[in-house]
Symmetry: C2
Subunit: 602 residues, 2 copies
């Protein structure tokens, strides 16, 4: 059978079973119904639906992006059909608890399931994945009534969800949102304002769209402390669950993007007076939790979305890598150097598959180290989610929570940068062909370019990591990360990987030292000026650690997959980890080059 | 006046006059007619035509790519109109000698002129630039009759030119081309074969298209040594210069690309029998120079095209940077950290232009260092062309030729990599907006992605540099480069730039040492396995040198432009040059990770 061009099941099996020992989760009460068999079955199903229903319209949806016909958003029909199959297979509810109709699947398995759909068609997969994140937020913070009203139809895929944070005048700066929510006598609120960049913000795929909207209640504190969260359904819901009146949420326009075109991206108006539900102005919204706590709640969804964005970037890089690999194995061109006799080539010899050329192998090996590293990172985060929820000891749960907090900005940013590099390399492997729209790699490259932007830009993630996460609890987060890595390096003692482990230990120690230097600077402007470099250095250290983990699992095996893992780990050790030294030196110098640059000098 | 978003004239003036002292060229007989005034006038004219006639249809031509109507290639009409204005201003012939109707402009000025058009509209500019390169090849290697027949209409912009090298089964591997050319009794040849990736290969912009085609004459040596070069006009030309019969060159298809869409890119068939000129089968071609010397001649055009590709990449990065800069100066969002009092922000303060945020400044400063570094590199190469042609001493001419040979792969590849990074950063500065098609930065990013592919991929350039150029004449090329750089570092003694100069000296010495190590390996497979890393390291060293050059020019001035040059030089010194150490360490280790990777392990 030809290997899949979507994702590698052998790699998933290696990561889930050989490395993360997902089977052990069955020993926990929450996952008692699951076993290797159920995990295999759900992965088989995901691969099948992704390959048969998502991948085939990936290019079609790119070429025919959402457009307006008579005020309605029209998508290619394959999107609705694919999502119907997806929902029919119970995928929307896979990770939800049984009492909400879910399969109660471990998060780590669910993440692997998602990766199939993201790799097959990132744009179509965005609709249910946003919905799942919105569902999880409601389960975590909604009232019992809100959960009862919204979660079942969302879990069934009959309604979709969105997250509505940004506004035209406030992209990354949520402190500046101006959407207002005024409390009514019946306890509901009326919202007025404009939201921007809302993915899945309008379409005809489902009967209803459940918007989770950040807004300010007048009289609250300024800035992010005055933000509250509301459920604002497109159509109001009667007490019996039936759909009622149209809410005053209207489409202001569609954004036309470079890639990710199949996902409707919208500007939405709330309370513009197009509809007047109940005869009154304003979009009807229902407060989630308490007033002014909205951003905290939203971060439940946001953290999940950030890891999801990282996984999406990985999935796009992964499928790009697989496409390049297939091309390199089948495309004949050129011939190898004839060895020690000089570097002449024998022009009469037949042409060889381009994978024989070292430079092509370099690109493929680099891409492999990025995408498999990214996949390990995303699955590891999801495994921490399982630990956070189901570990027996509160201590273990707290440790998992803290580690996840520290790693989340890396899990979002690292794949957004490096798995885009994998797609860049994939184009380069195909050469001129890769630059044409005859091959998907150019679309992967366009699609993946979104990932360093949405759900918090690269720069926002950098401030989150250096400005908040590594200083949490007096630096407990970074200490925990370092300890966790050192548990791995200790296991490498006496193995062929001791050298790599030593280099990694040194990098971790240096990262901790530099973090101290940065925070000792006494001026947060100086500390944070080069935060992006810090994020990138920390990301490479973390992924190097995950490669060492994989190498240790693969060390005693003699199959091709294990040999490939070892070689990719060597690549990351020798080619990638050394890049960190220059970054940490720069940070340690408290370099002011950027800070001192004046606007007028540009 | 609002600064241009196309290119920076102040920067061009700095580079051309303050740094490269272009005025001194007027002392040479060939350029005696030129002066600062004529240079200024031609740059003014280029800026005006580029801004008024090229930039306005950049997006239009992207959205309406060339397509076939009744077998003819249809372009948006603005392309023909822009090229009519371009030709009318004498731009096609700017660098040609006066006796061929040219302005005899120095190459360095001509390169600056080109940059305006490339930055305004890379796709439209490709037509005349390919034509100029073809013209130059004919001037250099064509017979007097060929020059008389083809050059005047090409110089006038009435006919365009192409270079037809690649074939479907032989992209980068020219040894494997199979197009045949059979000599006829009248001295002409008949060609049959298929060519691929031919930019400007068919269109209705001009009365005729002059293809320069590589083909093999039966009985010649195998591989690249059996390649000959032919002029194959789309329409045959009568002895009086009038257009005659249609030659048997036919359009096999259009390629649909991710970017660069306005440039027709074609598959062409030669001698398929669609037309039978003179009643005989085969496309009529005329040998240029001698049989089997074709590749050597083609390299006249190819080297020029490679530097042109590098300049195109720079121009695309430069205009992207300028767009991002304007956005960052006008877009209000967020507020700065409030300094030493902690890193809280005052939410009641007004939002600031995003250029105030250090991370945005980091991106802009990085982009500035890449695009201004790239521009310096491209202009320096063109200045070497002038030196090669007009230096009084043969010694100086030979030195310029050798230095240009060594730098050409870098001039092609470095901007293709780093000025694409500038466009990537430009998208990131704009955030979500940058990802939409409402802004040009997303197009620049798509357009620029071609540059590491055409006219010799990144990997081909790497083999050219490490496998040929640095070992030319027993390493004379690399020695000359090192000596040239050390002339600059010597001038930095006693200045604030002595530290940078010392670091650069060390990097150059290490590069030379590593080159020796690589070639001492005794196995060209090992020597060349990691050639791409060598290319990138050498590129960064060369651009660091050009930044030191610029810093030395700017050191005693107190204007904003000079301050910006110094700060960008500091950026390159502190943020970029240190990346080279890890690359050279990797090369010095004769790392076999890539070489030892097996196909079955992927």
């Amino acid at each position: 059978m030809r290997p899949s061009l979507v994702l590698s099941r052998p790699d998933l099996d290696f990561l889930l079973h050989d490395w993360l020992q997902v089977g052990e989760l069955s020993e926990r009460p929450r996952f008692a119904e699951h076993s290797r068999d159920t995990v295999d079955a759900v992965l088989d199903l995901a691969a099948q639906i992704a390959t048969e229903h998502f991948a085939p319209h990936n290019r079609t949806a790119d070429e025919h992006e959402p457009h307006l016909v008579g005020g309605r958003v029209v998508l290619v029909p394959e999107v609705a059909e694919a999502l119907r199959v997806f929902a029919g297979a119970g995928m929307n509810a896979a990770a939800l608890p049984e009492e909400l109709g879910g399969l109660q699947l471990p998060a780590v398995v669910n993440q692997a399931v998602h990766a199939w759909f993201q790799a097959a068609n990132i744009a179509t997969s965005a609709y249910p994945f946003l919905t799942m994140a919105a569902t999880n937020l409601l389960v975590a913070h909604g009232s019992p009534e809100q959960v009862a009203t919204y979660v079942p139809p969302m879990a069934a895929g009959r309604w979709f969800g969105t997250m509505a944070l940004s506004e035209p005048q406030a992209g990354s700066s949520l402190a500046d949102i101006t959407t207002r929510a005024v409390r009514q006598d019946d306890g509901s609120y009326r919202l007025t304002g404009n939201k921007m960049w809302i993915s899945g913000g309008d379409h005809e795929l489902t009967e209803n769209i459940v918007h989770l909207v950040l807004a300010k209640v007048p009289g609250g504190p300024p800035g992010v402390k005055g933000i509250s969260l509301f459920v604002v359904p497109k159509r109001l819901v009667a007490t019996d669950g039936s759909l009622g009146e149209r809410n005053d949420v209207t489409l202001a326009g569609l954004n036309h993007k470079m890639g990710y075109r199949g996902t409707t991206n919208t500007a939405l108006n709330f309370g513009e007076g197009v509809h007047t539900p109940g005869g009154h102005p304003g979009a009807v919204g229902f407060l989630v939790g308490a007033e002014h706590r909205g951003l905290t709640y939203m971060f439940t969804m946001m953290n999940e979305a950030r890891i999801g964005v990282g996984m999406g970037a990985t999935a796009l890089g992964y499928t790009g890598y697989l496409h390049a690999l297939e091309y390199a194995r089948t495309r004949l061109q050129g011939r190898p150097l004839s060895g020690k006799a000089g570097h002449m080539k024998d022009a009469s010899a037949p042409q060889v598959p381009i994978i024989e050329h070292p430079d092509v192998r370099r690109m493929l090996l680099a891409a492999k180290s990025y995408v498999e590293g990214g996949l390990a990172l995303g699955l590891y985060c999801a495994r921490l989610v399982d630990e956070e929820v189901t570990a027996e000891q509160e201590d273990d749960r707290a440790r998992a929570r803290l580690l996840l907090e520290v790693i989340t900005p890396i899990a979002k940013s690292w794949p957004s940068q490096w798995c885009q590099s994998a797609d860049d390399l994939a184009i380069q492997v195909l050469g001129g062909a890769g630059y044409t729209r005859d091959h998907l790699v150019e679309q992967f490259y366009r699609d993946n370019r979104l990932n360093p932007i949405h759900e918090g830009t690269h720069g926002i993630q950098a401030l989150d990591l250096l400005g908040r996460k590594v200083v949490l609890g007096g630096g407990a987060g970074l200490t925990l990360l370092a300890e966790t890595i050192m548990t791995t390096t200790a296991r490498a003692a006496g193995t062929p990987w001791a050298g790599f482990a030593g280099e990694l230990d040194a990098a971790v120690a240096r990262l901790a030292e530099v973090t101290g230097t940065l925070w000792a600077a006494g001026d947060p402007q100086v500390t944070l000026a080069n935060a992006a470099v810090y994020l990138e250095a920390a990301g490479h250290v973390v992924v190097a650690w995950l490669w060492l983990e994989q190498a240790l699992v693969a060390q005693d095996r003699d199959d091709d997959l294990a040999a490939g893992k070892r070689q990719a780990a060597r690549f990351f050790q020798r080619w990638e980890l050394p890049k960190v030294a220059a970054q940490l030196d720069l940070l340690a110098s408290l370099d002011r080059t950027v800070l001192d640059m004046r606007g007028s000098w540009f």
